[in-house]
Amino acid sequence: MPATTVTARADQGDSPVRPAGGAPAGARRRPGLLARIPVPLWLLLPAAVVLIPLFGYPLYQLGLLSVLKFGQPQASGGVPTEFVGLSNYSDVLGDAQFWSVLGQTLAFAAFCVLTTLAVGATCAVLLTRVGRWPRLMLMFGALGAWAAPAMTGSTVWMFLLDTNSGLVNEVLGTQGHNWMYDKWSAFAMVAVVVVWHSFPFVMITLYAGIQAIPDSVVEAARLDGAGTVTIFRKIMLPMLRPLLVIVVIQSIIWDFKVFTQIYVMTGGGGIAGQNLVLNVYAYQKAFVAENYSLGAAIGVLMTLILLAVTAVYIRSLRRSGEEL
């Protein structure tokens, strides 16, 4: 095998052809320096070129900012930055508002995830049980809700819920009621919009998954005397597991990081910040209060929480013997 595959080994074939841009395939020369870079690294190079400077570096900077004193004077370059260690973190963690925002972020995300999954899964199963037209209608409606940008969804629902000319008040006979005034009702309304946006992904993914299960497998089980519940638990569920995992983890990620809907619908976090979630809280601290380092510390904490979720996820994948 040529030197091209010292660290890399193609799964198949033992005469690796050189990647595009390398020496012509089959040339009998000693491979040049470029050709000695393993093929997979060539393939990963474009991704690295984008991700390292635009994702990795800012992430590192976020961590760095969080241990500096960095406000407007430092940002405009007038005042030198100062290393302050973990004092931003102690400020954040010592602030009662942070804990209440964290609590409501977790509760809000959990509520959205569970509702999204419940609605999405129910609709997916429903799709397999209905006639052609109802199925197409539900698919079409869901695609519409999925396609609607977060911004659009927020504005439309805001209009539906509008105090004076909103349809919801007209239908319920509650004219003049402001749904965004009360903390919990405001959260609930944003949750409705979040679920409306995200249940279609769950529904369509799971429906596609159910469709991909061969009928013969289900029929064979039925012939063997398995009931609907057994078929669901012993056949459908295990086969859908990889998709379920994707759907759950995506929902957690999306709902924990909701920004647009909260920001737009509650006007930047609600009356006196009652509807803040961590993402918006960090944004407000950084760009409105111009305390960039404090915002960065909140961002780091939020990342750590999500990484903890990821770690649990990867461990459960590993434990179930799934290969990454």
Binding site: A10, P149, M151, T152, A212, A282, L307
Partner: protein, 276 residues
């Protein structure tokens, strides 16, 4: 009986789901006086394009639209190409650090990218002094940033699709003397097309939806994209709901068109992920 009940439930759910969109389009077509009525009706007798005309007239809404479109199209195309190559590397080769790289892609999806607005603001500001096309208030910066944030998910998702393509096909092509490049573009690429369709939906939505980066990185009005530009319709005293609904409608149409174009591939594509 049961079937009929299920049908009815599905129809009701479908109507509920689509209703906000119907209301958006309807309200966009309502004349000025009717839209602020305290007793809104689910129909209108005097549909008008006035709101659309106003929306398009407001400080170059058409321009914002084109800005958004440019960003989204570039992000979709470039991210599909890059993600494809990376997905091939991660599912067709075994190499050192492969698992580490995979985990990094997964981890990237967890990062609350909104938190990265803070360092990115300063990074983009600094880039701007060297390459103005990618500095603050440039579409280039939005393209790059959205590209970076749609890539990890695209790679992660596409990996499953590449893995689902039988390797024997590539083997056969190799025996026929196809080069690695030919195998990539002529054989693997078309076979992964459904997966690419599914992933490009996510890239498109990421770029088209982006609100926070457009809001923080674009400081002038000329280069604003739709989500942030829509905020101009919100006024402290009285929201111009007609304008907001017309603008929202215009903003939703491209995504719908995109969905319809790739929809068929998407459902089959998502189903393919199961086999993975």
């Amino acid at each position: 009986m049961l079937r009929q009940g299920a049908n009815a439930v599905a129809v009701v759910l479908a109507l509920l789901t689509v209703f906000p969109l119907y209301w958006m389009v309807l309200s966009a077509l309502k004349p000025k006086g009717e839209i602020t009525s305290a007793h809104p009706r689910p129909w209108t007798f005097a549909p008008t394009l006035e709101n659309f005309r106003n929306a398009l007239g407001v400080s170059g809404f058409g321009r914002y639209f084109l800005n958004s479109l440019a960003v989204a199209v570039v992000v979709v195309v470039v991210s599909a190409a890059i993600a494809f190559l990376a997905a091939v590397a991660l599912s067709r080769f075994r190499f050192r650090f492969r698992t580490t790289i995979l985990i990094m892609f997964l981890v990237a999806q967890m990062v609350p990218v909104e938190a990265l607005t803070i360092p990115l603001f300063f990074l983009v500001r600094d880039i701007g002094s060297v390459a103005p096309g990618f500095g603050l208030s440039s579409l280039g910066s939005l393209m790059l940033v959205n590209l970076a944030f749609s890539l990890p998910f695209a790679v992660w998702m596409l990996r499953g699709f590449v893995a689902a393509v039988p390797e024997s096909l590539e083997e056969a092509a190799r025996i026929d003397g196809a080069s690695r490049f030919t195998i990539l573009w002529r054989i693997l690429f078309p076979l992964v097309a459904p997966g690419l369709a599914a992933t490009s939906v996510f890239s498109f939505i990421t770029a088209w939806n982006d609100f926070v980066f457009a809001k923080t990185l674009i400081l002038d009005t000329d280069h604003q994209t739709l989500p942030a530009a829509l905020m101009v319709f919100f006024k402290p005293d009285e929201n111009d709901w007609g304008g907001i609904m017309a603008a929202s409608t215009l903003m939703t149409v491209p995504v719908l068109v995109f969905f319809v174009l790739v929809q068929r591939h998407m459902v089959s594509g998502l189903g393919g992920a199961v086999k993975d």
